[in-house]
Symmetry: C2
Subunit: 247 residues, 2 copies
């Protein structure tokens, strides 16, 4: 019997009632972010339902971003996902600021390399053009949100490793050091996959948790591409928001 079939046996809406009551308890502050909810077995007994029905309630809460269900760690109350608008202008630091979140970043590595075909095409350069490959980690209120690898032309951005560090790993601030006061988000490609070991370590998420993978190109206001960034964001902490009529 599948989970769905077992849950069905308890009545199609039993899970919903349980989910609603748990959501209310969270809203009342009975459970705080980081708290673990009672185990599905205990709740199943309390409500007189199959534990799969409780799990369905947990999943519903997880879908709403209220809890995180991790194997072996139980069901934890999460802080709400931070919305990150992907519009014509994208700046994590500015976005965090608007939300009252303190955004900080760290440079993890910086090196020059011969640009691979993919990166050079995205930047409108010939394959093999020297590129900066700069790796950063972004935090919101001290919690890791995303980590990304940035590629930029060495010719266009001499000493970028130093500039990026001096800018506190803020791309907006680093661009300003090169006289670029404004830039736009040309394209963003988003998908989902499991975190690898290093990403999980950097983002402080469970090994094999889901991450959002973003490949984005920023450009000058005249739409000349200047910056390619390939990032992973903790799925449990961030959500991308696309509202084309707001731009």
């Amino acid at each position: 019997m599948t989970d769905a079939a077992l849950a069905e046996r308890d009545g199609g809406t039993a899970w919903r009632r349980i989910a609603d009551e748990l959501a209310e308890a969270i809203a009342r502050g009975e459970y705080h972010p980081g708290d673990t909810l009672p185990a599905s077995v205990a709740l199943a007994e309390r409500y007189g339902v199959h534990r799969h029905t409780v799990r369905q309630a947990f999943r519903h809460l997880a879908d709403q971003g209220l809890v995180t269900v991790a194997r072996g760690r139980g069901t934890q109350v999460t802080a709400p996902r931070v919305p990150y608008p992907i519009g014509r202008r994208v700046s994590m630091r500015a976005n965090f600021g608007k939300l009252g979140i303190v955004g900080t970043s760290r440079v993890l590595s910086a090196a020059m390399e011969e640009g691979a075909a993919e990166a050079c095409v995205a930047l409108g350069l010939k394959t093999g053009t020297p590129l900066w490959r700069v790796e950063g980690l972004s935090l919101g209120d001290g919690v890791p949100m995303g980590t990304g690898v940035h590629w930029l032309s060495v010719e266009r951005f001499p000493d970028f490793d130093r500039a990026f560090r001096e800018a506190g790993a803020s791309m907006t601030a680093a661009f300003r050091a090169y006289g670029i006061e404004d830039y736009v988000r040309l394209s963003t490609r988003l998908t989902a996959r499991l975190a690898d070991e290093r990403e999980a370590e950097l983002l402080q998420i469970a090994p094999e948790a889901a991450v959002m993978v973003s490949t984005a190109v920023d450009a000058l206001p005249d739409l000349t591409p200047i910056h390619l960034v390939s990032s992973v964001f903790a799925g449990e902490r961030m959500e991308m928001v696309i509202e084309p009529f707001r731009d």
Copy 2:
């Protein structure tokens, strides 16, 4: 020792050479979509490196969408991810058509319910307003791509269960039956999490594979919301593309 440290021991770029050679072999057609690459142990022996170095190469290929690494199933060559533009107009069927992919959909369930607060707020309705809750599955060339739950006003869309079935579970076609020839995508929220059992079954992906979760609102051209849809897409098969300057 961490994976990264072990790989480092083989030289920082050993994994890249292996990844490049495998990518070329895939490009040459030596491996086809669905084929399993040699195991990391075998490749480690062939290249004289630690198996973690090979795994790093696999992960790089996975990030590029060339392979899928699943525990216990090895590393499989994937079809490239289908790009799905999230612009001012979003239609999966129309998008598939442009890519030469045959899009089909199936209605999984249809029911009326008192609208929960979240859904009603998104649709600009009072909490408790009767809503259709319609569940669909979308396939591209017969492969499941996404499954979603749609909410619409019962008053605005009488007999929607029938209309949606008659429209072959195409929202665009169903809207047309109500005289709506055009609609726009007001907002899309995207995040990532692990698939639950039912989703994995519907999408034919590994249990606990990563899915992209989308919560989207469609509106009439005058921006009156008419449709809320909460979907999950197979992360290994789809990528969302946001290009605000193309709209």
